[in-house]
Amino acid sequence: MAMIRAATTTFLLLTALTGVAYPLLVTAVAQGVFPLQANGSLRTHEGRVVGSALIGQDFSSGEPARAARWFWGRPSATAPSPYTALDVAAGGASGGSNLAPSNPLLAERAQERIATLAAAARAVGLAPSDAPVPVELVTSSASGLDPHLSVAAAEFQVARVARARGLSEDTVRALVRAHTSPRTLGILGEPTVHVLELNLALEALGRSPEVP
């Protein structure tokens, strides 16, 4: 009997402490000290919430000629459509393709992506290029929400985006460089290009007259 009382009471008290008091305390401090980060690092642009600074978006779907105007992030394997962060009705959530390296579908999807990239380049009148496509541009990320590109994957798209927007390649390349972050502390992670920020900067550039 003493055992049952001890077990039940200890369980309830420790559950209340770790399952209620602790998350509430962390929430209170987090909302006070880091309100922006605690609520999803939302990115506003011209008064609209256009997304989260941490979550990638789909730029590649739709008409090739229109999609060609944007830098594309990595392929996303989320259902029902790419870069679905949450769709309760359809059961859509973050996640990867989980294709094995030996699964023929992996190469098939990569091939499709290469074809889509080529179609977009053709749509803006670029001659077909035989430069190898960086593998990160044809393989899907783990979360399906990766907001970044590698420098090589961004460079690969410079010619297409520049042509589609009537900008010089140097202008676009400079923009990519401005939105490249180095490794954290020089060692952690990899250098990355932030796709949403880069595309927002492209839009801003397109509207102001270009300064020579």
Binding site: A2, A6, A7, T10, F11, L14, T15, L17, T18, G19, V20, Y22, P23, V26, T27, V33, Q37, A38, N39, G40, L42, V50, G51, S52, L54, I55, Q57, Y83, L86, V88, G92, A93, S94, G96, S97, N98, A100, P101, S102, N103, P104, L106, Q111, P132, P134, V135, E136, V138, T139, S141, A142, S143, D146, A152, R183, I187, G189, E190, N199, E203
Partner: protein, 570 residues
Amino acid sequence: MTIPGLIQLVGFVVTIAVCARLLGPLVARILDGEPGRAPLGLGLVLGPLERGVYRIAGVTARAMTWREYALGILAFNALGVAAVYGLQRLQHHLPANPAALGPVEPASAFNTAISFATNTNWQGYAGETTMSYLTQMLGLGAQNFLSAATGIAVFAALARGLRRSSESGVGNCWVDLTRSTLYVLLPLSTLLALVLVGQGVVQTFRAPIEVEPLVQTSQTLPLGPAASQIAIKQLGTNGGGFFNANGAHPFENPTALANALQCLAILLLPAALCHTFGSMVRDRRQGWALLAAMLAIFIPCLAVTVMSEHAANPALASLGVDQALGNVEGKELRFGVDASALWASATTAASNGSVNSMHDSMMPLGGFAAMWLMQLGEVVFGGVGSGLYGMLMFAIVAVFVAGLMVGRAPEYLGKKIEPFEMRMACIVILLPCAVVLVGTAIACVVPAGTSSVSNPGPHGFSQILYAFSSAGNNNGSAFAGLAANTPFYNVALGIAMFLARYWLIVPVLAVAGAMSRKSAAAATEGTLPTHTPTFVLMLVAVVVIVGALTFVPSLALGPVAEHVQLFARR
């Protein structure tokens, strides 16, 4: 691999070693301390809470026999299973459910309840579309703490049984559970949670928010009190994600720095507890020896993983792609290959099971290393507490084998190893192996098992083997292409997780009880020392040989066959 990558990996191992050395003895002082007192001023702040718990629960800090201790732990865990099951089934009637999620299916709820109470945190469901905020924090979040505290408590009981001073009993389970929660897990988690929020992990009770993307038609962002749960998910070697993509989700693991801190948190306590053990048995060298044995297995496995993930996939070679970055399918670019491979090794060495990349898409040998680290019985770091008590069972076997080889009476820390302890150690070592192999075999021959497989060829078998290796060793990571949210897998893996946890805890506590009654003999010329490099080698050999003999045939059918198939194309 790059120079920054190498610095990252070496720096990680060194940082873990240093942090473990600093933290370990502090944990020993907490476990051996008087009620209401704790180091670093923690007793001043949380001491009244601790005393309050004992007063309301009617607990006195008397030492228990191992049977009482085991009964207490089992009762405490049974309540955990019941609470998590109930919360999932009733969440639509309860508050803090802004997305209006319905009740969780019974089989899935059963699996999840066992999963979180056993410190496995296998997830058959997607967090953001299944669990309400209340279920996450009060059910899953609380069990993240309490299952880790259970591991620490059982470890503490074993350490007390083994140490030289013969004592009556193995400690008090309520005191151990309360003190490890209050003074070890809560302070560390609070600290880590706040740092993670600063990096961008969400911590809010607001409902999911719809944004207006630039091109995409619409996007809804899931939110929730994630940071508080992520912190203990890593520190308690739990691994259950708030969101489906787990540590790959930008809201769980937003930056390379957050990733590095979480990766350190995965191994921090399992490594530190080696030194805690050294302090508790009043011979620091014993702790060093156990940690050295763990590192001696961990580092080669890490090297294999890193090298395999940097390799180009031959299946993509003919497409004209530049594979300079390595195998990045299922990886996030902010982490890169090195930090993804490091995490994969850390999370499978420790019984953590969180992922920052999709293990299903790892190269065959990367998946091999991850699977094998689990199959070794989760003793290379392993779970908080559970990894070390598992390793101590291997140490008992190693002492016994060495004793037979040189013709000495086997003893560990001066206490004689007799047939009873050997029988218990064999149960602890062999039961998970049996669960993994029998479970895999059953799943391979019934349609309900094979129909969930998503990748063709040997990799399909690997998916099943990985699932049972994970559940049967309380890891929780997955080859996630396997459709595991089916009645068959929910029940089969639920049973595997249950057996692997509680059928190990009871024999471990039995050893603790038996050893506590023995008096320690003084060390003589004839004593086999258990802190020397020779013994470390012996211990590593026993762990590796048991693991290799048991799993080489099945690994040959899975990842090894896939590797040969993939690279024979060239």
